[in-house]
């Protein structure tokens, strides 16, 4: 490096990236390496870039991200377990000029809230659903979720999920892509910089769709749960690439213009 000191580089005019002010200064309650933190941040960055933070109402779920309203510095509501799409429907219908999104995990969206999710998607409510899928109930101690992969170990399937007795994993994103109410259904990830950028673009597109009153946009983010999977953060990301992505392939599933 040329003879330039770090103090000369660390000046406000040279700033290229800092955490958005739409995230509060509270330390995130998530485990080290959890994709929730990255997902929170890119949602807030999209709101900031679109300059709609004052007109946005977020719906927090139940699960690890139940405290999302503590971290997202916008108007938030907390829904009963799984009922975030129902609450979002109400908020959007009462405030059609506001941007409304739900932020849900797989235990919330694909298990207890399946009915609300499917009906909100089928009605084509003009909201954005952000769905974090880590294939496990992370908050309660790593129990098997509907999205747990065949053969995947969890605290309630210690020998691996046996589809004969425990049923098949639920690909809820493919399921709701069949519904006429959804306009944009995609599956992304946030474990590498390239994936973060792509996911951010997808979330941006989802909010743009809402701006144009096009219908329901659904963004699934396949994430890790290193505590629930009993791995280090980097190992869990590798495991996710090797095991989750073949079953939950990334990419746009439905794009209606």
């Amino acid at each position: 490096m040329a003879n330039i000191t770090k103090e000369e580089i660390r000046k406000p005019e040279n700033l290229v990236y800092k955490k958005t002010d739409l995230l509060t200064d509270k330390a995130l309650s998530y485990c080290p390496g959890c994709g929730h933190g990255t997902a929170h941040r890119i949602v807030m960055e999209v709101l900031e870039e679109m300059d709609i933070q004052d007109k946005t109402i977020g719906i927090a779920p139940v699960g690890c991200s139940v405290l999302a309203y503590e971290f997202m510095n916008i108007d938030m509501q907390q829904a009963a377990h799984g009922r975030a799409p129902a609450l979002a429907t109400a908020v959007k219908r009462l405030h059609p000029d506001k941007f409304v999104f739900t932020y849900q995990g797989d235990g919330d969206l694909a298990a207890i809230g399946t009915a609300e999710t499917i009906h909100a998607c089928n009605r084509g409510e003009n909201i954005v659903i952000i769905f974090i899928n880590n294939g496990i109930y992370g908050m309660t101690g790593g129990q098997m979720a509907p999205t747990t992969l065949p053969g995947m170990k969890s605290s309630t399937s210690p020998y691996g999920r046996d589809v004969q007795t425990m049923g098949n994993p639920l690909k809820i994103t493919e399921l709701i892509a069949q519904l006429p109410g959804t306009i944009f259904v995609t599956r992304q990830a946030v474990h590498t910089p390239a994936h973060v950028r792509k996911t951010k673009k997808a979330i941006r597109k989802a909010f743009e769709n809402q701006k144009l009153n096009k219908g329901l946009s659904f963004v699934e983010i396949v994430s890790n749960c290193n505590s629930g999977w009993k791995m280090t953060p980097l190992k869990s990301n590798e495991w996710m690439v090797d095991n989750m992505f073949p079953f939950y392939p990334l990419g746009d599933i439905k794009v209606n213009e």
Binding site: R10, A27, G33
Partner: protein
């Protein structure tokens, strides 16, 4: 020739030492410290001057603890 130099500032008290930023850095600037922060995590730290300010580490950091600066030098 104009060269780009960068620098990162890590909020070590908020860093959880997950090390997701380490493989994200194309210049191998980041490593985990031998020291721990108030929470007991080995925090990430910058170990050399190769940073180009590409922001890869910052956008992949789950806790958003990395601030990135970039400057062009003639």
């Amino acid at each position: 020739m104009a060269k780009v130099v960068g620098d990162i500032v890590i909020d070590i008290e908020k860093c959880k030492g997950c090390s997701v930023c380490i493989p994200a850095c194309p210049q191998d600037v980041i490593a985990l410290s031998k020291n721990v922060n108030g929470k007991g995590y080995n925090y990430a730290e910058s170990i050399n001057d190769e940073c180009t300010g590409c922001t890869n580490c910052a956008i992949v950091c789950p806790d958003g603890v990395i601030t990135v600066y970039r400057k062009k030098v003639e």
